[in-house]
């Protein structure tokens, strides 16, 4: 008998997606898998998806292959809602492998599974190596459905950004939300040229606060972030976004879950580096 009736994953062209999927099967023994993929990258993810189909067949696991559309966030939300409801996740175990999943999908799935009172585990397979750039062609940032916070009419905005690889997109978020205060959290130990460029760009700017966090710690940086944000909960509208380590999405979700006034923002891109990651490293797991 399976401990885990449902594995939810998101197909990409990266090798770690496929290797991670095989790991998930061995580790969690799911009875059923829902594999989402995006229409605009369907061709790139097709070989990996074909292998997943074969693997599920070989293992006797039920597979649902589901399509999400880049230009239809509302349709995607409804699709996820209908899928989670149809799978009768209420009170049951689910595992979300978000290694190659967009943050908006991660947060929506977490929210739906929480709403359905599912027991949610998550897993993130790190890569061994990373390319020189991750994404281009940024789209308009958007607040995530149902996780957009409780805006006070009288308050200015505090924007919290987990800085990552695409540091130029921080500027885009700042321009878009026009915050009174921006808190930029940097992953401990990261000292790339681009992060230096970012700090140079903002140095001396009194509206910017800097923060070091460790997204790979057990709480994924939640405590550090919350400590920084708490003084503003009553006086400001808080928007949080993650451009950095994907596991930080868990910390942001948990903060939002505890403090409904906080909004989560997703900064989408349309173009991704095909060679962004290589290999597969450790798996980070947890209970939501």
């Amino acid at each position: 008998m399976s401990d885990c009736p449902l594995l939810i994953t998101f197909a990409s062209w990266e090798q770690r997606f496929l290797d991670g999927f095989k790991r998930d099967i061995d580790e969690w023994h799911p009875a059923k898998v829902i594999m989402y993929h995006l229409d605009e990258f369907a061709e790139m993810s097709a070989p990996n998806r074909a292998e997943v189909v074969a693997e599920c067949k070989a293992q006797g696991v039920v597979l649902i292959n589901a399509l999400l559309r880049v230009h239809d966030p509302a349709g995607n939300w409804k699709k996820l809602r209908d899928d989670m409801t149809a799978e009768a996740c209420t009170g049951r175990n689910a595992v979300v492998d978000f290694s190659t999943m967009p943050r908006e999908t991660i947060w929506t799935l977490f929210w739906l599974l929480d709403m359905l009172k599912a027991k949610t585990n998550y897993v993130y397979h790190r890569a061994i190596g990373y390319g020189e750039w991750l994404s281009r062609d940024p789209q308009r940032p958007r607040l995530v459905y149902k996780l957009s916070g409780l805006t006070k009419l009288s308050a200015r905005t505090v924007l919290v950004i987990i800085a990552g690889y695409d540091v130029d997109r921080i500027q885009q978020l700042v321009r878009f939300y026009d915050p009174e205060i921006t808190i930029i959290a940097q992953q401990e130990g990261s000292a790339s040229q681009r992060l230096k460029k970012l700090t140079d760009e903002f140095v001396g700017n009194s509206t910017i606060q800097w923060l070091k966090m460790d997204a790979f710690s057990p709480d994924h940086g939640e405590a550090v972030l919350l400590k920084q944000v708490k003084p503003y909960l009553d006086s400001h509208n808080i928007i949080m976004s993650s451009l950095g380590p994907k596991v930080s999405a868990v910390a942001l979700y948990r903060i939002q879950r505890e403090h409904r006034e906080v909004g989560l923002a997703y900064a989408p891109s349309r173009d991704f580096n095909k060679d962004y990651s290589s290999g597969i490293g450790e798996a980070i797991t947890g209970v939501l």
């Binding site: 509302a74 062609d137 607040l143 409780l150 006070k152 130029d168 997109r169 026009d178 001396g204």
Partner: protein
């Protein structure tokens, strides 16, 4: 960067304290006579051209502060209510999960709550606003409209604020209910059921019986499609006795003018449009004068007793070289036109600077870009574009200062510092254009980014070739488009939208050569030119380029051919920012 305060701080208007806005804002009668009126006005212009500052300055809160400074009471005839739209509430998108009807209702509900909150906030600041009014009666009336009791232990308008805030939070709680996937909210307010009655109630107060309320909607481009339609419907109201709208929007060309009922609002009929990036053609509103006043005021505020020209002096070397060039060109003109002084001065205007650039040795360093007028030209007509280089220059002088005082005195910016900063900022702008456009601008793909770079790169090469070789219009650095066809224009317009968003290209409207007609012309951000050794002081002439040439430059990196066009008739010659 230093921690000292800088007179050229260029943060957004919403981040400036009200006192500072009063200190820095240059009132322009050409704008204020439209804004301080009962008509609907749409202010357009790129980021940084002063839209928010203008609305804020004309809001009641600022006018009241101004009155306090002038020892006078602001008149209550026109009360400006500032309503910012770039808020998380506006950015909420849950309405997308609803059908169109429900989406329109909830979108309008959010917007009218925001407007009502700002109305109450503004009216709460008017001293003695309830004088001679029967407060109990007014409270009962409002309680009836809201369908809820108002707080009794707080001033009346604060009670309205509290109600509206509570209603807004209640709505969001229902929509974002963590235990339900439903989105619906039934108890929505509309403009007619909330804003109009609240304004009517305000108007019933003896103190405000002759007041008109100017609802100043800032950053209206952030509103969603349903809110834009609703706003346009309110703008289309014929009766302006109670309220009017002053709406700031980044680009009216990208904004829908449709109303909720399927009609459209029309310029001239429903609203007046003020283009903040395109000053009018008279002395008082000339951009150069505005820029000068702005810098003068900031210097004065910092106790710096210098004119902008003295504070940003032109380099001696450049001045001497320019004088020499003028002398040589004048000799040439006199030899050509004799004592026809008009033709001589035209000739000197047209060729003096070009002669300077042409006579520079091929291996010379870049010219020493300096002088206040150079900064004005480099701004391309956008206020923030003046402040930015000034900020960096001031900062550099501070950081180079050997004065150990807490606030070292800066009396001027040496020409070499001006030049260094200008060339540095120009280089940074090119780097950004070449490498990062697709990472910064929405809907800009890698291919778009490459095309944007190639287009401006080829324009730079073309303008340089013109500067050095062209006979009739050597200093032209803006262009018009000829031989248009739909297919090419669709492609170019997409590219121009990206460049406009990146503030690398400005689109203006001006008189065409054909009498009476207007045409769009295109001005690349002049901060691009110093890195290419070009002259940012353009002349009022536009290069006519074909759509095919421009697209080939962008798409295939083809150079733009140099042609001799017929010169612009003299009657059309105007100051550079006077179109």
């Amino acid at each position: 960067m230093t921690a000292q305060r800088n007179p050229f701080e260029y943060m957004g208007a919403n981040d400036l304290p009200y006192e500072m806005i009063l200190d820095y804002y240059i009132e322009d009668f050409n704008y204020s006579r439209f804004i301080q009126s009962k008509r609907n006005v749409i202010l357009t212009g790129e980021r940084g051209c002063g839209k928010s500052m203008t609305l804020l300055y004309n809001s009641w809160a600022l006018q009241q502060l101004k009155g306090t400074r002038d020892n006078s009471s602001p008149a209550l005839g026109l009360i400006g209510v500032y309503v910012p739209c770039n808020t998380p509430l506006t950015h909420k998108e849950e309405y997308q999960l609803l059908d169109k009807f429900q989406a329109a209702l909830i979108s309008e509900h959010h917007l009218v709550l925001s407007i009502t909150y700002r109305i109450a906030e503004t009216l709460a600041q008017i001293p003695g606003v309830l004088d001679e009014a029967n407060e109990d009666q007014v409270r009962s009336k409002m309680a009836f409209i809201f369908g809820a009791e108002l707080l009794r232990d707080v001033p009346f308008f604060d009670a309205i604020k509290a109600f509206v805030e509570k209603e807004s939070i209640r709505t969001q709680r229902v929509i974002n209910d963590p235990d339900s996937a439903q989105i619906n909210y039934e108890d929505t307010f509309t403009f007619a059921s909330l804003v109009v009655p609240v304004l009517g109630c305000a108007k019933s107060l003896p103190k405000l019986k002759d007041s008109h309320f100017m609802l100043m909607i800032d950053d209206a481009h952030d509103l969603n499609q349903h809110q834009v339609k609703a706003l346009n419907s309110w703008i289309a109201y014929r009766d302006h006795s109670l309220f009017s709208f002053k709406v700031a929007v980044a680009n009216v060309a990208r904004t829908s003018l449709k109303t909720s009922s399927g009609g459209s609002i029309l310029e001239g009929h429903d609203y007046t449009r003020l283009d903040m990036a395109q000053p009018f053609q008279n002395e008082a509103s000339d951009f150069g004068r505005l820029a000068k006043q702005l810098v003068e005021r900031r210097l004065r505020k910092f106790g710096i007793d210098a004119t902008p020209e003295d504070f940003f002096p032109i380099s001696d070397r450049l001045r001497q070289d320019m004088e020499k060039a003028e002398e040589e060109i004048r000799r040439e003109a006199v030899a050509k036109y004799g004592d026809d002084s008009r033709k001589v001065s035209d000739y000197v205007y047209k060729y003096k600077r070009a002669h300077y650039f042409r006579s520079r040795p091929a291996k010379a360093n870049r010219p020493e870009y300096s002088g206040f007028d150079t900064l004005v030209y480099l701004s391309t007509g956008v206020i923030r574009n003046i402040l930015q280089p000034c900020y960096w220059m001031y900062d550099k002088v501070l950081s180079l200062s050997t004065d150990n005082a807490a606030s070292p005195v800066v009396n001027s910016i040496p020409p070499h510092v001006q030049s260094d900063i200008i060339i540095e900022r120009s280089r940074v702008l090119w780097d950004w254009l070449r490498n990062e456009l697709d990472q910064n601008i929405e809907d800009c793909s890698r291919e778009d980014g490459v095309r944007a770079y190639q287009l401006l790169d080829n324009l730079a090469v073309h303008f340089r070739e013109r500067l050095l070789n062209h006979k009739s219009e050597p200093r032209a650095n803006s262009f018009t488009i000829s031989s248009r066809n739909r297919d090419l224009m669709d492609k170019l317009e997409r590219l121009f939208r990206i460049l406009q968003q990146a503030q690398l290209l400005y689109i203006r409207s001006g008189a065409a050569k054909d009498k009476g007609k207007r045409e769009s012309y295109y001005v690349p951000n002049r901060m691009l030119w110093p890195e290419r050794g070009l002259d940012p002081h353009g002349q009022h002439a536009r290069v006519s380029l074909t759509a095919a040439e421009l697209w080939a430059a962008a798409d295939e990196n083809r150079s733009i051919p140099l042609r001799e066009e017929s010169p612009t008739p003299r009657a059309e010659q105007k100051g550079f920012f006077d179109e």
